[in-house]
Amino acid sequence: MQYAATKLGRSVVRERENTRLGKIDLPFAALTLLLLTVGVVMVLSASYARAYYSDATGHNAAYYFLRQLGFAAAGTVIMFALSRLPMGFYRRMSFPALAASLVLLALVPLIGVAEGDARRWIDLGFTTFQPSETAKAAIILYFSALICRRGASMGTLRGLLPFIGVLALVIVLLVLEPHFSAAVIIIAIGGAMLFLGGARLYWFIGVGAAAIAALGAVMLFFPYASGRISTWLDPFANPGGDGYQIVQSLYSIGSGGLFGLGLGRGRQTYMYLPEEHNDFIFAVCCEELGFAGACAILLGFAALIVRGYWLALHMRDRFSFLVTAGITTLLAIQVILNAAVVTNLVPCTGISLPFFSYGGTALLIQLAEMGIVLSASRGIPSWRL
């Protein structure tokens, strides 16, 4: 019991144990790679028509596929590499990661690439990169570390203040871009971390009520938002205008039927469906693979998410638990929101589908997050699973 005197000593021992005895969780890794493989194939199926007819790709039908394949390969390497780093490293890196993300977010309005009215991207030369993606991971790591340090004070307002401060800062930076969907996800994941960390339930009830009130106010005072709501409620009212994207998505999904039109045989991908290999790739899955295929993909994601929580439940230290549950929740939020947008369950907004949507840096970051979970999974003795 001599170790018990110091917190640090205990954790060092545990981290040593991690590297010494742990193996990564194979089911979690396998599900990730399976979804990644299906996702990359779907990028080809969804994008070949657009790539073929586009001057920007040099009429190369495999243009998006090959790039996505490259990022997937690199991402897989990164995932396994990160799975070998000890959790203590992530704990140490949590504050620098957050600081770096905040700097990048602050830079976006200054040097970001504009797309429409928004600046969300930083051009890295060979690819573009969304700092909001790293911010999500950084929030999880930093909140996890902070919760471990705070312990019992999570139940008090004072204890919550640093979290709220960080969240507020990130959200202000995102609203400046503006990038509301990322802000919503950051709030959700931040809230989930506090929920797991032990914040009082009535806080969530209060904040939830406030959020609904704020949302109502936004809808009332921002015509942009209220237009989105009316389009959501009746997309067919203006199928050629505001409702175009969601209507095309519904056409794609509805065309699928039970077993779909077959891989590569989708018709909506011929420039009818916008964002067909990005945010709306799930609609293409529905059209080509049908209800059966779409459910299989959802089942894969559900299995990965359940496995992620299952791993979290078996973590032996609080940091690993919080990081694993946080990353799993982030994954769940993205998948559920994306599928809900595509099927018009919620108003249309830009949320990508992890492992499926085309986008290099986002894929790299998602796989890196999986690598962190795999690293944490090494801390679980094999007999416990």
């Binding site: 039927g257 032996r316 809900a340």
Partner: protein, 771 residues
């Protein structure tokens, strides 16, 4: 150290609250949310599958229409009246022009030059870059299309498109325009048979269905095509005889010009035994190939009007020229209706050829404050039935109407098809013949309560001589045909057969509606009506007589009651004839609405009867009837001049004498080098031909005015000018007729030896009056 973080008892491990909350997130984010998403997918992909897929396919499939060839319209002898031929429509695909970066200016310039369009208009179309289909020129001729094709290939312009289309051609222009009708820009029938039989003629369009990308190009791997064959339309064969139609329009047009007819004219020729319409004409007419164009007179009026009123005037003029007077206008038939009254009375045995009618000039009628006056002020005196009809005596017909009685008259009028009872005895009634043509108007008849009122017989009295009710020309000729064909009322019809593209033929028409009068009555009516035309002393219809043929008929001159009330007076003069009178094949109605000041007395007998005569003189030989001339007629008929050039003068003289002509030799040569009129000309028998033997014939002659001259005087006046006369066999042997119109206008220069055809009429106002 106290372990607040309970649960598993290990320090630093997640506590039980954390684990509970994780389980909560697992069940929400890992299970419940996915169940909701799966349910949503089930709803969209299974429940709404058909609807959403149909909508998706509707936007993914582009349809190119292949228009079905429209059926041909033939006349009864197989002559083409309307046909479709392949033409091309040129359109632009501005979206492709924009995508391929083609020079819109050059395309617009080239097309405008070839097609004779305004550059700006074409250029404007190229700028509508959201569109895939902007028509530049519809239905252009093959030669122009070839030029466009060449221009397209030279420039390699993919934005110029040419598609096959069909165009309707009417080989005879305005012939039978109102019957045939025309088609609009989308190839659907807009009038006449084209509209009425559109369902048969149009066939069904085919289509090429092709899946395309959102940009209109072909899909890469999933392209799909389907063809729906166009089904050609059926061919329609009309009862119209283009030959008869031509004669009728020729003479009707001449009459409109001769008598300054101001409100149009109509003529119908019906096969009396079947109800088949052999010809139907309404004037003013229009060219089916350019049906929007109005007559020069109308055009002048429109151009003179202020800009703002032109569109309205043009539309009104078009509506007027498209109106088929023969079936769409109602009128008060006047004395032609006396045929019907006569048939009723004979059928009921109320009158016979021996009945005596006394006309004092007027007759009193119960319910009328003033007596009905006969058109002849002094009265016709004592007359038998035939004479009463010959004189068209109103007083006699009022008496005949009284004999028939209002109820019987009403029943007969219905049986003849002038109206249909509805069960409401107080309602004004109407009726149609049911001819297979659009736009037929209904008649206007008194209600039973008004007509069958024994206290007030003024309606019966007026009806007996054809006034104050309104019927259509087609109704009158249908009823009169029943009177002379043996008593069967036929339904008039225009389409005698429809042939499908596969060659199956369906016969139509010849529907007998009911027997109205007996064979014997019909024979009596024919005999009496023949006397109206054939009796040169008493018949009011004598101007319709044609030498060598037996023709029956009845004149009609009607005022318009509505205008009489308004204080103006316009007339409709008409004549209905039938031939041969003993066993009629055809009935012929001519109606001239509102004659102007032509110098000819305004009456059916003086104006319409000669027109029917001239028509009959053409139609009866055309139908194969050989004329049988009396001795006296042989002296005045038209005969054909033989070829005598090259003969010596003596032989030529005897050859001409054999043919019924005299001759005068000019020059001293022994051989005829030139003759006037030319061989083959048809001129009045007894004319003196001019034979030139060595001397040269004059080149031209000035046409003298013949109006008001007798036939013999006119012949002499023409001979003096070196011209010849013909009457179309309408000259009467007694020579009592005078010229009312001539085919070559007075004062104009004509080739020497030309034949002037004159319109003759007997102008005995004392006898012919206005009825």
């Amino acid at each position: 150290m106290a372990q607040k973080d309970g649960g598993r008892g290990r320090p630093g491990a997640p506590n039980s609250m954390m684990l509970r909350r994780t389980l909560f997130l697992l069940s929400v984010c890992g299970v419940a949310a996915f169940a909701v998403l799966a349910a949503r997918l089930y709803y969209l992909q299974i429940v709404r599958h058909d609807e959403l897929e149909a909508r998706a396919i509707a936007q993914q499939v582009r349809e190119t229409t292949v228009s079905a060839p429209r059926g041909t319209i033939y006349d009864r002898n197989g002559a083409v009246l309307a046909m479709s031929a392949g033409v091309d429509t040129v359109y632009l695909s501005p979206a492709e022009i924009a995508r391929e970066g083609e020079d819109a200016g050059a395309i617009a310039r080239g097309l405008a030059d070839i097609l004779g369009l305004e550059y700006e208009d074409v250029y404007e179309k190229t700028q509508n870059t959201g569109s895939w289909y902007e028509v530049v020129a519809r239905r252009i001729e093959p030669e122009l299309a070839a030029e466009v094709r060449e221009f397209k290939e030279e420039g390699g312009w993919s934005g110029i498109k040419i598609e096959a289309d069909t165009k309707r051609y009417y080989p005879n222009g305005s012939l039978a325009a109102h019957v045939i009708g025309f088609t609009g820009t989308d190839n659907t029938g807009l009038g006449g048979i084209e509209a009425k039989y559109d369902a048969y003629l149009s066939g069904s369009d085919g289509a090429i269905l092709r899946s395309t990308t959102a940009e209109g190009t072909e899909m890469l791997f999933t392209s799909w095509e389907d063809y729906l064959d166009a089904v050609p339309g059926c061919d329609v064969e009309l009862t119209i005889d283009a030959g008869i139609q031509y004669y009728i329009e020729k003479h009707l047009r001449q009459a409109v010009a001769d008598y300054d007819i101001r409100n149009g004219a109509a003529a119908i020729c019906m096969e009396v035994d079947t109800g088949a319409i052999l010809a139907m004409a309404s004037l003013g007419s229009f060219d089916l190939n350019d049906y929007q164009a109005v007559s020069e007179a109308d055009r002048a009026v429109i151009d003179a009007a202020p800009e703002s009123e032109r569109a309205e005037l043009l539309a009104a003029a078009q509506q007027r020229q498209w109106r088929n007077k023969a079936v769409s206008d109602t009128y008060e038939p006047g004395s032609t209706f006396k045929i019907i009254t006569l048939a009723m009375a004979l059928e009921e045995g109320l009158v016979s050829e021996d009945s005596d009618f006394y006309c004092s000039g007027s007759v009193t009628v119960p319910g009328r404050s003033t007596p009905v006056r006969c058109w002849k002020a002094g009265g016709h005196g004592s007359q038998d039935l035939t004479a009463a009809v010959q004189h068209s005596c109103n007083a006699a017909f009022v008496s005949i109407g009284r004999l028939i009685g209002e109820e019987r008259f009403y029943d007969y009028a219905e049986a003849f098809g002038f109206f249909e009872r509805t069960g409401d005895s107080s309602a004004q009634l109407t009726g149609t013949t049911g001819i297979d043509l659009g736009g037929e108007s209904g008649s206007i008849w008194w209600s039973e309560d008004v007509f069958c009122n024994s206290e007030n017989l003024s309606q019966l009295a007026a009806a007996s001589f054809g006034q104050t009710f309104n019927i259509t020309p087609i109704q009158l000729i249908t009823a009169v045909s029943a009177c002379v064909n043996g008593g069967e009322l036929m339904r008039p019809y225009l389409v005698q057969s429809i042939t499908s593209p596969t060659g199956e033929s369906e016969q139509r028409g010849g529907t007998a509606l009911r027997r109205v009068i007996s064979e014997e009555t019909s024979a009596k009516v024919r005999a009496i009506l023949e006397q109206v035309v054939g009796d040169p002393d008493e018949g009011t219809g004598r101007n319709a007589a044609v030498a060598g043929y037996r023709i029956g008929g009845k004149t009609g001159t009607s005022t318009k009651t509505t205008q009489e009330i308004a204080g103006t007076k316009e007339y409709i003069v008409s004549f209905i004839g039938f031939a041969p009178a003993d066993d009629p094949e055809i009935a012929l109605l001519v109606l001239l609405d509102d004659p102007g000041d032509s110098g000819v007395y305004v009456s059916g007998g003086q104006m319409a009867a000669p027109v029917v005569g001239k028509m009959m003189a053409d139609i009866l030989p055309y139908l194969g009837y050989e004329p049988e001339y009396s001795e006296t007629q042989l002296g005045v008929i038209d005969r054909t001049v033989p070829d005598v050039t090259g003969l010596d003068t003596a032989a030529a003289r005897s050859k001409l004498a054999e043919a019924g002509f005299g001759c005068r030799v000019l020059g001293r040569g022994g051989t005829v080098t030139q003759q006037l009129p030319a061989a083959g000309s048809s001129i009045a028998a007894g004319s003196e031909a001019l034979l030139y033997a060595g001397e040269a014939a004059p080149e031209t002659a000035v046409v003298p005015s013949l109006a008001g001259l007798s036939y013999d005087a006119a012949m002499e006046a023409l001979a003096a000018a070196g011209l010849f006369i013909a009457s179309g066999n309408t000259a009467a042997a007694d020579g009592a007729q005078i010229v009312s119109a001539q085919s070559l206008a007075p004062g104009t220069a004509a080739a020497a030896g030309s034949v002037v055809t004159v319109t003759l009429y007997d102008n005995d106002e004392e006898l012919l009056g206005i009825y």
